[in-house]
Amino acid sequence: MGQLTQFAINGLMSGAIYALIAVGIVSVYKATKVVNFAHGYLIMFGAYFYYTFAVIIPGQEWAPSWLASWEPVWLVEMKEGLPMFSPMGAVLDWVQNVPRIIFGIIGALIANAIVGRIIERTLMRPLMGQSIFAMIMVTVGLISIMSGAASIIWTADADFVPHIAPNAPVRFELFGSTIFLFGADLVNMLIALIIFGGIVLMVRYTKSGVAIRATAEDQSTAYSMGISVPKVFSRAWVLASTTGAIAGAILATRNGISPSLGLFGFSVLAIVLMGGLDSYIGVFLAAMAVGVMEAMTQWQLGGDWAEIVPYVAVLAVLLIRPHGLFGSKEVERI
């Protein structure tokens, strides 16, 4: 029982990250009807940007020393005499890193937003009104372009990036068993959930959210109603690339950085289809379910079986419910 709860909670934590990645795919789909096969690679770029701004740049000679490691007098004093690996020590380590974490995240957000914007303007915009197949295949071409570009720009061998939150171990009782977590994972989950919830609320209640929904419903009608569809397109891409930057930063702290981060996009694509593509709620539930199933598989069958869980799950779901768990079935007019 204790282990079950522990693995379930681990699953929920990775499920939240999946949801955060998925929100980018769903938003772009809602606005543009394009399923972005390259979203994972946008996330990989986010991770590398975070690495660039939080590790490479602070490490340069010309960068101010407080950026690499902030060491005010009070902090140094507090650290003295602390035993190794104490929770307090982890928090203080984090405080030292705060400047470069902030710099890293802001840098990643801006840089990834620019990348998303460029992709939308140069590749997606010219295809407006073309067949969905062409648009999807362009994102497939984008996979190769982005993964090749990343290996040219960043020569990085696997390297550590600072955790976004203090990585102190957390221990607590739940259902009579002791659960053991890392603080950073917990905060990552919260960040993911807050961003996901915020975007759902934005799409539901704000003016630009209404514009996105109207465009999703019918592009030409939305256009003729005075909604600037191209603007909606580029907003959706910026939304996807900025959430992707956060997701990338989080993934970089969890899994280290390498071009293979892009592969996460495919598992999340499977999750998105399971949930139903245009349903935020469905996708959220699917992300959580896959997160938990993966954790359970890892527990019972070992780590490598976990990697095909999303794919098996999506095939099973599609056979039973072709439009996903919560997807809307389009009624065809003949």
Partner: protein, 356 residues
């Protein structure tokens, strides 16, 4: 005004090579291939064999994606199934079936197995269209490669480190050089192409195209979507299985990673670049997709003088070029190279009258 187009019988009008340009092109190509087999150097033979193997698979993808309109991003898995089935059967049947007949036993079985699994993978296609299918096939690709890599199956598949493959043995003729394999591959590829062309000019192929263009309209003409979508999946998988068999005979060792997503994307990309839903599309596409990395390698060596430090850029550059090529064709020439050749051919047909 189209010149040389007078037909006196329906039979003459229904021929594939229905004008002298097409005849000259095809017979000329056959002659050129024969010369190539005799005189080309080892490197050129190697490249040509790669093209031939890929061509067989792309013709299969063309049946599914180009003609039936069902998008698959997982056909690399079928190539893997073909290659592994041939290898595993050959190992398992050694001693039971005489070596000189092995080819004629294992290749048909490999084709049948992949066709069968193609039907399984195609099952979602009955209920979901477009991108759902793309993701379903992508998922199937990941699962197949994952299973091949598993330690539990390693005694048969070799696992992550791969497995040695047999040489083709045609009634005692052991094809242990690339040049001999080139002869086999080009004959198989040519026959595959011809069979695909036959398919689409008859009832079955027309039904595929009808499903692609307008599925409900196909239904009211009496075309069962269930049956033809699965047939299309089975056929395209079978072609990929055949390509996989050739792959296994050609290379001395196969590894699971050779059949991952990259291969599936290469198949679709070759089709898009060449021209979807056209007989010659796969031919043009495969040429470009196989040549491009070679050209980049040569250029890179030329500009850098071949120093080791810049060598690490070659593979990412090839990757980028592949992506750019795909994107370029989708944006600028979505009907592929075949559309360019069409225009040239049309001008030739009308010569010396107005170009159009």
């Amino acid at each position: 005004m189209i010149n040389g187009n007078l037909k006196a019988t329906y039979a003459a009008d229904e021929r594939v090579l229905n004008n002298s340009y097409k005849q000259a092109f095809v017979y000329g190509t056959m002659l050129a291939l024969a010369f190539f087999a005799a005189f080309a150097n080892e490197y050129m033979i190697l490249i040509a064999c790669k093209m031939g193997i890929l061509l067989i698979a792309v013709v299969g993808v063309n049946i599914l994606t180009g003609y039936t309109g069902l998008v698959s991003l997982g056909h690399g898995a079928f190539v893997a199934l073909g290659a592994y089935t041939v290898t595993m059967l050959d190992n398992g049947l050694t001693g039971i079936i005489p070596n000189q007949f092995m080819f004629f036993v294992v290749v048909p079985i490999a084709i049948a197995v992949t066709a069968l699994i193609g039907v399984l993978v195609g099952l979602p296609s009955l209920r979901v269209k477009g991108l759902y299918l793309a993701v379903a096939t992508l998922a199937a690709n990941f699962i197949v490669i994952f299973l091949i890599e598993q330690d539990a199956f390693a005694p048969w598949t070799g696992g992550v480190v791969g497995i040695d493959t047999p040489d083709a043995n045609l009634l005692g003729w052991v094809l242990d050089t690339n040049r001999e394999m080139f002869i086999l591959i080009s004959v198989v590829a040519f026959t595959s192409l011809l069979a695909a062309q036959n398919l689409i000019r008859t009832r079955v192929g027309r039904a595929f195209i009808a499903i692609r263009d307008r599925d409900y309209s196909a239904e009211i003409l009496g075309i069962s979507l269930l049956r033809y979508k699965l047939t299309s999946f089975a056929l395209s998988a079978a072609y990929c299985g055949l390509a996989g068999a050739m792959f296994a005979f050609f290379y001395s060792r196969i590894l699971p990673e050779q059949f991952e997503l990259d291969l599936s994307l290469e198949l679709v990309a070759a089709l898009i670049v060449g021209g979807m839903g056209r007989t010659m599309g796969p031919v043009f596409g495969v040429m470009v997709i196989v040549m491009m990395p070679e050209v980049i390698k040569v250029f890179a060596a030329y500009f850098t003088g071949g120093d080791a430090a810049s060598a690490r850029y070659i593979s990412p550059l090839q990757e980028i070029a592949f992506g750019l090529l795909l994107v370029f064709f989708l944006l600028k020439e979505p009907l592929g190279i075949n559309h360019i050749t069409d225009r040239i051919l049309r001008a030739a047909n009308r010569w010396p009258f107005a170009r159009g």
